[in-house]
């Protein structure tokens, strides 16, 4: 967490999150600079998903301060919608709108939230469908696509809002093994184009090649944060070492 002069797109200061009695996040502080790519890993229940879901306020944090692109996240609804337009999110379970065709899934938010005309929205949608290499599926319904294709559509849908940051919540965890690489390829391309990304994943090969910084979380805390080389080759904490040995041995 260096304090260089570069602007932070995302800033978390001493963030706590409680679900009832259970504390899901404990005193999390984190800065993300423009163009930075962060991979978050950790055992299930460690708070990884909660962390990124707080950044676009799908979860409301209990204490502390979260600032996204200069907007502090508070209960003011207007600000929240403004922030969410700048923060794309990709979910583990895709969450494509099942009643809309692929192209309409992509056009919906630009039309409604960006007030794009139908023609503009269509152009944007086709552009990003080509980026994720499935323009030929534009008129199909999500249920007619494979899991990998659905997740690529979900990525394209988020990109259509031209976000400053992309959040990925275990984007390949629900996929059959043979479909994982097609999604990771799209994400790698995105990283190479300079997109700011926070990715929750256990795909360590992807993490190693793409991440600027690795975060290991356990019990709602950031246990360790380091560049991948350091993180994988010389983990500081015992907990990190144990976790890495568990997921890398097979």
């Amino acid at each position: 967490m260096s304090d260089s002069g570069q602007t932070n797109i995302i800033q978390l200061e001493n963030v706590d999150k409680y679900f009832g009695e259970f504390q899901a996040l404990k005193n999390i502080s984190l800065s993300v600079k423009k163009g930075e790519r962060i991979v978050v890993c950790g055992p299930s229940g460690s708070g990884k998903s909660t962390l990124i879901r707080c950044i676009n306020r799908l979860e409301e944090h209990s204490n502390g301060k979260i600032v996204v692109n200069g907007h502090e996240l508070t209960s003011a609804v207007k600000d929240i919608d403004a922030v969410r337009k700048e923060v794309g999110m990709v979910f583990q379970s895709f969450n494509l709108f099942p009643h809309l065709t692929v192209i309409n899934n992509l056009m919906l938010a630009p039309k409604l939230a960006r007030k794009a005309s139908k023609a503009e929205a269509h152009d944007i949608a086709m552009k990003y469908l080509e980026r994720v290499k499935i323009p030929e599926q534009a008129d199909k319904y999500p249920s007619q696509l494979s899991g990998g294709q659905q997740q690529r559509v979900a990525i394209a849908r988020a990109l259509c809002m031209n976000p400053l940051v992309m959040l990925f919540d275990e984007p390949t965890s629900a996929l059959d093994p043979e479909m994982i690489s097609e999604v990771l390829d799209v994400m790698t391309d995105l990283a190479q184009e300079g997109m700011t990304m926070i990715v929750v994943t256990h795909e360590m090969g992807f993490a190693r090649s793409v991440a600027d910084n690795m975060i290991f979380m356990d019990n709602g805390e950031i246990v360790e944060m380091n560049p991948p080389k350091e993180f994988f080759d010389n983990p500081k904490s015992d907990r990190t070492r144990l976790f890495l040995s568990q997921i890398l041995t097979h």
């Binding site: 676009n56 799908l58 609804v77 919608d81 403004a82 969410r84 337009k85 700048e86 923060v87 794309g88 999110m89 979910f91 379970s93 969450n95 494509l96 709108f97 099942p98 009643h99 919906l108 938010a109 409604l112 939230a113 319904y141 999500p142 249920s143 007619q144 979900a154 849908r157 988020a158 809002m161």
Partner: protein, 231 residues
């Protein structure tokens, strides 16, 4: 006991003269009841107690009492009240047709709003979150994501309620209206042949029910294109 075929052939066309009124009662109260249901639904799920509590009380009362009693209260009870006789609703409540429409509408609204609520609850939370994450406003999320999916989900229950309403229209005959049931009762009073007349009436209602079922089957099929093509 013999079965008087001539009487049946004679009474069916007479009863069918009331089908227009049956349809009017059905479609008008369905339309108004569905509109009322949407308003009640929005109040119910608004998250504001001063909107949701009265709605819950309303639904409890109208689902918890016989529709026949509701019709009687509106038709026989309301005219006793001076403020109703002086209100702008009097031209409607003065007429038995208006009373029947009001009763059926209020009743259907209560039932259908609960059906819609079931549909809204059934929409996957992840889809609403996806809409939120894209920066769509609460209203846009409801109109473009929640509502279309919820409508598909509650269509079978809704069609059930339309069939139920179709049969409830027969209660209008108790307040002098000559719908199909009203006409049947008149014929029975003249001929003392309840068996033939009412069985014929049942057959007509069954045909109407079949038509409603087929219509909803067609709508369901159309609205499920995205599911059917799944392989």
């Amino acid at each position: 006991m013999s079965f008087d075929l001539d009487l049946i052939l004679d009474s069916i066309p007479k009863m069918l003269m009331g089908i227009g009124l049956t349809f009017q009662l059905l479609f008008l109260s369905l339309l108004l009841g569905t509109a009322l249901a949407i308003i009640l639904l929005i109040m119910r799920i608004s998250g504001r107690w001063y909107l949701s509590w009265p709605t819950m009380a309303y639904i409890y009362i109208f689902r918890g009492t016989p529709i026949l009693v509701q019709i009687f209260i509106i038709y026989y009870g309301f005219p006793q009240l001076e403020f109703i006789r002086e209100s702008i609703f009097w031209p409607i409540l003065r007429e038995p047709f208006g009373c029947a429409i009001v009763a059926l509408t209020l009743n259907t609204g209560a039932y259908v709003s609960e059906i819609f609520r079931g549909g809204v609850i059934g929409v996957d939370r992840g889809l609403k979150e996806a809409g939120a994450a894209l920066g769509l406003s609460v209203t846009h999320r409801f109109i473009y994501i929640t509502a279309p999916i919820a409508i598909r989900l509650c269509l079978p229950a809704y069609s059930n309620d339309v069939i139920s309403l179709q049969k409830s229209t027969a209660l209008a005959s108790t307040i002098t209206l000559l719908d199909m049931t009203g006409i049947a009762r008149t014929i029975v009073a003249e001929t003392y042949a309840p068996y033939e007349v009412f069985v014929s009436l049942m057959v007509i209602y069954l045909i109407l029910t079949w038509m409603i079922q087929r219509s909803f089957g067609w709508i369901e099929k159309r609205m499920s294109r995205h599911i059917r093509e799944e392989v």
